[in-house]
Symmetry: C2
Subunit: 327 residues, 2 copies
């Protein structure tokens, strides 16, 4: 590949948010922990770091923009969403690095390298797992009838841009999720913004919900939000709506939303939310790809075959709208 090199001054990572929780009164049990080692007593009583998120920070040697781009993933996913596409093309992380932005890719609380805590001892509930079948319809690859155990026999929506031959690879990215960690997650994202903000947040699906909420809490830390198909909108009071309206928002929507009841519902709620921000003077934009004549995008435009094109549209909007980001 003849692309320009990515020239970085530093690649670093950190955990942020949460704190130490202690477990007491748990029974010990005997476990053979290491191969060829002796069984030893395992004692779950003690201190655990709980509620942190993980972030990997790429700093340009010569950043073109003063604010970093933060990538927030969706439900049952991790920061891997933004790296290489499942069929092996460079993802949005690389795209925005090559644009000259500093980039922070995070794994939210409980996901990926953020790690998760014992349940039900610390986390209140059991995790959920995403099946291929669940993702096939929820990510709008196609109708349920089009899914098949045999990859060769799968049929997506007509014109589908997701690289369906890599759908199994996509499912290798799925991680367990809990439904009871929203407060922990928001608290950790706030800490992240305290550390690396003000910033541009590019957020996907569930991450878009968190981003919209954060905009209403700390608008001074958020230069712009790009919400890629957010899974609904937060319930805000008047003061929060006023705060959220200070942050430019771009919403990106793929194709086939009308074919899926949940997405039809999420989108309707989000558009309502947008109206209320616009009423307060908010600069709120919709990039509804099919309306722009760009058909065939799934719930994962950062992985679809036109991922660079959609990234370009997002990057152009940032330059036009998010004035704070220019040097």
């Amino acid at each position: 590949m003849s692309a320009q090199p990515i020239v970085l001054s530093e690649i670093s990572s950190f955990h942020i948010g949460g704190g130490i929780r202690r477990l007491e009164g748990q029974l010990k049990r005997e476990v053979k922990v290491s191969t060829n080692g002796e069984a030893r007593m395992v004692d779950l009583n003690g201190g655990y770091h709980v509620g942190q998120l993980y972030a990997q920070h790429f700093r340009q040697a010569a950043p073109k923009y003063k604010l970093p781009v933060l990538f927030w993933h969706g439900g049952a996913m991790s920061g891997v969403t933004w790296e290489t596409t499942p069929d092996g093309r460079p993802g949005w992380q690389s795209f925005f690095l090559r644009q000259g932005y500093d980039v922070v890719v995070s794994d939210a609380v409980e996901r990926g390298r953020a790690s998760w805590a014992p349940f039900p001892e610390i986390y209140e509930t059991s995790p959920l797992f995403r099946t291929q079948e669940d993702a096939w319809t929820l990510f709008r690859m196609g109708l349920m009838e089009g899914y098949h155990e045999d990859p060769a026999q799968r049929h997506g929506y007509e014109g589908q841009r997701f690289p369906l031959e890599a759908f199994d690879k996509l499912s290798a990215q799925f991680v367990a999720r809990w439904t009871t960690n929203n407060e922990r997650t928001l608290a950790a994202y706030e800490k992240l913004l305290d550390r690396v903000g003000p910033a541009i947040i590019i957020a996907h699906s569930q991450g878009g919900w968190f981003a919209q909420q954060i905009a209403a809490q700390k608008p001074e830390h958020v230069a712009a939000i790009v919400a890629i198909e957010p899974a609904g909108a937060p319930t805000l009071n008047g003061v929060e709506f006023e705060k959220a309206s200070r942050v430019p928002h771009l919403y990106v929507w793929g194709d086939y939303c009308d074919d899926h009841a949940a997405w039809k519902g999420y989108k309707a709620k989000v558009l309502q939310h947008c109206e209320l921000m616009r009423d307060r003077g908010g600069r709120i934009f919709q990039l509804d790809l099919p309306k722009e004549g760009i058909r065939g995008n799934s719930h994962m435009p950062m992985m679809d075959d036109n991922s660079d094109h959609v990234a370009t549209l997002v990057a152009d909007w940032l330059l036009k709208e998010a004035k704070l980001i220019s040097e």
Copy 2:
């Protein structure tokens, strides 16, 4: 920082190994999945990608060496081990990137971004979690009596080089582990070597056990192994010993091993293993830091205050011994 920039042609990631497993006959349950969303039926029946590992690949624009360095973490840890130290200094990932190596940092099966599968439905057993107390002694920070809930009141071994003020940060890196995934993990590491090898493997603790086993399975894919305090040695037959002996091994040991029964035991077993490789002509080296006059290293030399010094000793050995790596 005035360090030279890291100039990369590509930052990519991928999952490798494992495959699709199907769950059937599970009861559905109703769960409110998204905030503000409606409850919906969650159906765990379906396909899951199981047994993959996650790897992040950093390619130099102008690599100085033809073989990449693979970093394999230890038990209840992830690839984060090799990134920034818990007190915020550049870790070995950066060190070896700045030396000019391509670098591959992975999360083994079940850890971090590799993700894990439902148990007991797919994984056979429940996970284990590492407490602070467990890590305090196992990682040889100090005696159990020196641990305290209050960080200010903790007392490590005299001369301890681990940045104890960042011990809570270290515990934010811990992830759940299973004791029944060794075969899955080895299989995935083999696939990783098929893809990016031949390579130098720098492996820590449990990862060192896997690395030693892999050397005995695919010596032609392994240019050298640096085992940082491996948690024991694999049980090999004669043919495997002969194969393992073709791979140069460097073993790195920190301080205080004699103060911890488990480490005394692991080390004795490993030294025995080394003798058997030497008997077969293996080029097997010990970097026993205290014997070299370098006192105070914990189980985590890649995080200790002399982490760059230890990295330099490792890098020097690679240049001298692992002839395959020079261009």
